[in-house]
Symmetry: C2
Subunit: 350 residues, 2 copies
DNA sequence: CTGAAAGCGCTTACAG
DNA sequence: CTGAAAGCGCTTACAG
C-alpha cells in the first residue's frame, strides 16, 4: 500500500509536479492569494495525483483513535465459520485498524448483547469508541447512544437514528441486480430470502423497486422465505417450492438475498436436473463466498467490505472530533457492484 | 461563530488545558510514543473541548474547492417562492460556501436539466465540483457521473448509486413521526402526500414501517394523494376525502409529507369545523414553514438543512481528494428531529 | 506568478 | 511523562 519511494509527499513535490512555485501551491491550497483558474487546476490535479490531498485529509483524522471496542452478536462471531460475510467484514476492520495502529478489543459477554455490559467493557479497556456490528435492537442502541462514547453501527439499521451507521446500500444494490435480470429478458424472478435482520428486508424492497421502475406487475416476482441463511435452508425452501408447483412455475431466475443461499440454490437446482443458467439463472448477494469456484461460477452483488471498514473508522473519528453541539446522526450507505459470472449469463434473452 | 478570543487554537493551548507537556499532546495526537490511557483521554478531551480536533479535521479538507457549479431543476429555484424548502436549503448552502470562501455559480439553462449543458456550464466557470439538487433522473445522472467532475446529488435519490448523495433520512424520519402518533394512542392515521419525487415515497415507506413495527394492520393507516405539494392541493384532497366519507372516517391524525400540505390541511380542517388537535391532530414534514406561526402551531419533522449543506460540501471535497481508485459511491442520510408543537398535542390518549 | 527568506506550529530526539 | 531544543514543513510577506 505504501510504496517506499513515495514516503513523504510534500508541498514541494506538488510544486515540482505542477511546475509552479512552492508558494503558489500553498496559496492554492489555502486560498490565501488570488490565483488564476488554470494554475489552480494544474496544482490541484498534481496534488491529487500524488495523493497529497488524500494524505492531508487523513492527517486531520488520524489523531483521536487508539482503542476501539467491538461488539458483535455472538452468533456472528468469526469462530462460527458458517458466516463468511461476518468473518470477512471483521477481518477487513481488523486489518484497517492494524494498518493505522488502532487497537481493537472484542466484547465477550452474555449470549444476548447488553448495553451495560458493553459500556463497562469499553470503559475497562479505555476505548474511545464503540463499533457495534449487525445489531439493530433499539433497546440496545438507545442506552449506548445516551452514553458519551462515539458509536458506529456497522452493517445494521437504526431506524431511530440514534447512532451513526455505516452499511451497504442494500436496497439499491438489490434493485440493480434485479434490473440486470429484467434487462436480460427475465420476467418471472424468484427472490429467495429469509426473515432475519431488517437490512435483509431492504433487499426485498429493492427487488420490488426494479419491477416498479419498469412498470411491471409486482406479482411477476415471487418471494420465497427460507428458514435461515444457510445453504441447506435454501435447498429445503426450493425443494418445497418445486414440489408444490411441480417445477419452477415459469420462473427463469432466482435472486438470492445472500451468497450462502445462492450456493444452496445452485446445488438443489442442479440436483433436480435443471441447467444453470440455461433453465434458470442464479444471482447471489455479498460477493464474499468463493463464487468463482462454484460450478457454474456465481453472478453476485459484491458488497465493498473494505470500504465499509474504512468508512466506519472515519465515521467514528468524525464523531469523536465533534464537540458538544448536536450534529445530526448520519447513515452512510456504500454502493455495491454486480459481478457477472456464469450462473446468470448475460446473453439470456427470451 | 468564530469568537475572536479563540482565533487560533494550537497544540499549546491544548497542553495547557489538559495540564500536560506540549510534547505529550503531540505524541497523543500522532501515536508516536506510548502514553498512558488516562493522559491520552485527558488530552483528547481537552482537544475536543477546545475545538482543536475539529479544526484539524477541517484543515485537511479546506483545500480543494474554489468554485462549485449548482444545478437545480428550474421549478425548484428560489424565485419560485412557493417552495420554501428549496429556498432555505439553497440559502444554507450559499451561506456555508460564503463562510468558506467558495464561489457558487448557479446553472441557468433549458427548462429541462440536461447533462451536456451542465458540464459545459461547469467548465465555463472552471468549477471543481457540481452539486445537483433534487433531481433523480438517471438519464441526467449517468453522463454526469461519467465526467470527471466531483458530483454530489443533494436531497435526491440515485438508485443507480452513480454519484454521491446527501439527503435527509426520509424513511426513518417519517417512521419516527408516525411512531410518535401511534405512541400517543392514534391508530387510524391519514398520510397526505403526493406523487412526486421518489424521496417523498420514502416517507410513505416510513409511515408503513411504523405500523409494521407495532404489528398493527397496515390498513389502519390510509394514504391520500394530493395533486401536488401546495397548500391548495392539500385542501382539495382533504375536501374530497371528507365529502366521500361524510367525515374523517374515524381517523384521528393527518401526517403530511410536507409542511406545505400540513398548512393546507390545517386550514381546510378548521374551515370544516374540526378542532385541532382535539378532533384531529396534524403533523408536517420539513420544519421550514413558519410552523410556529400557524394556528395552532405545527408539530413537524425538522430536516437539518444546515447540516445537509455542510455534509454536501464535505462529500464533494472528499470525492475531490480521491485519486484514481474506485472508491464506491456513498449515500449519506442525516437524522431528523420531531418538533412538538400544538397541532398534535402530546397528551392525546384514546 | 516566482523565488528567497523569515516565521510559525508541530514533530521529534533526548536527558531527566 | 516533562521540558528545552533542534528540525521540518508549511505559511506568509515581499520585491521583482
Amino acid at each position: 500500500m505504501d510504496r517506499r519511494t513515495e514516503r513523504k509527499i510534500g508541498i514541494k513535490d506538488v510544486s515540482k509536479e505542477a511546475g509552479v512555485a512552492l508558494s503558489t501551491v500553498s496559496h492554492v491550497l489555502n486560498g490565501t492569494a488570488p490565483i488564476s483558474a488554470e494554475v489552480r487546476i494544474k496544482v490541484l490535479e498534481a496534488a491529487r495525483r500524488l495523493g497529497y490531498l488524500a494524505k492531508r485529509q487523513q492527517k486531520g483524522a488520524i489523531a483521536s483513535l487508539s482503542t476501539i471496542y467491538l461488539a458483535v452478536p455472538p452468533g456472528n462471531l468469526p469462530h462460527n465459520d458458517i458466516n463468511l460475510v461476518s468473518w470477512t467484514l471483521l477481518t477487513a476492520l481488523s486489518r484497517e485498524c492494524e494498518r493505522r495502529g488502532i487497537k481493537i478489543v472484542a466484547h465477550n459477554g452474555s449470549p444476548e448483547l447488553n448495553a451495560a455490559e458493553i459500556l463497562a467493557g469499553a470503559k475497562a479497556v479505555n476505548a474511545e469508541g464503540i463499533i457495534l456490528v449487525y445489531d439493530d435492537n433499539p433497546k440496545l442502541l438507545r442506552p449506548l447512544a445516551a452514553s458519551n462514547y462515539a458509536i458506529v453501527l456497522l452493517n445494521g439499521e437504526d431506524p431511530t437514528m440514534s447512532v451513526d451507521t455505516v452499511a451497504p446500500a442494500n436496497r439499491y444494490a438489490a434493485r440493480l441486480a434485479t434490473q440486470w435480470l429484467l434487462s436480460r429478458g427475465h420476467r418471472r424472478i424468484l427472490h429467495l430470502t429469509w426473515r432475519g435482520r431488517s437490512t435483509i428486508m431492504r433487499r426485498l424492497d429493492g427487488f420490488h423497486d426494479a419491477y416498479m421502475e419498469q412498470n411491471l406487475p409486482l406479482d411477476l416476482g415471487r418471494t420465497i422465505y427460507a428458514d435461515g441463511y444457510e445453504p441447506d435452508h435454501a435447498r429445503k425452501a426450493l425443494r418445497a417450492f418445486i414440489a408444490r408447483h411441480g417445477g419452477l412455475d415459469g420462473h427463469t431466475a432466482v435472486f438470492c438475498a445472500a451468497d450462502n443461499l445462492a450456493i444452496g440454490a445452485l446445488s438443489e437446482l442442479q440436483a433436480q436436473g435443471f441447467q444453470i443458467p440455461g433453465d434458470i439463472a442464479v444471482v447471489g448477494f455479498d460477493g464474499v463466498a468463493p463464487g468463482d469456484l462454484t460450478v457454474p461460477s456465481l453472478t453476485t452483488v459484491r458488497v465493498p467490505l473494505d470500504s465499509l471498514a474504512v468508512a466506519t473508522l472515519k465515521a467514528l473519528e468524525q464523531r469523536l472530533s465533534i464537540s458538544g453541539q448536536d450534529h445530526p446522526t448520519q447513515r452512510i450507505e456504500l454502493g455495491c457492484r454486480l459481478i457477472e459470472r456464469d450462473s446468470a449469463a448475460s446473453n439470456f434473452l427470451r
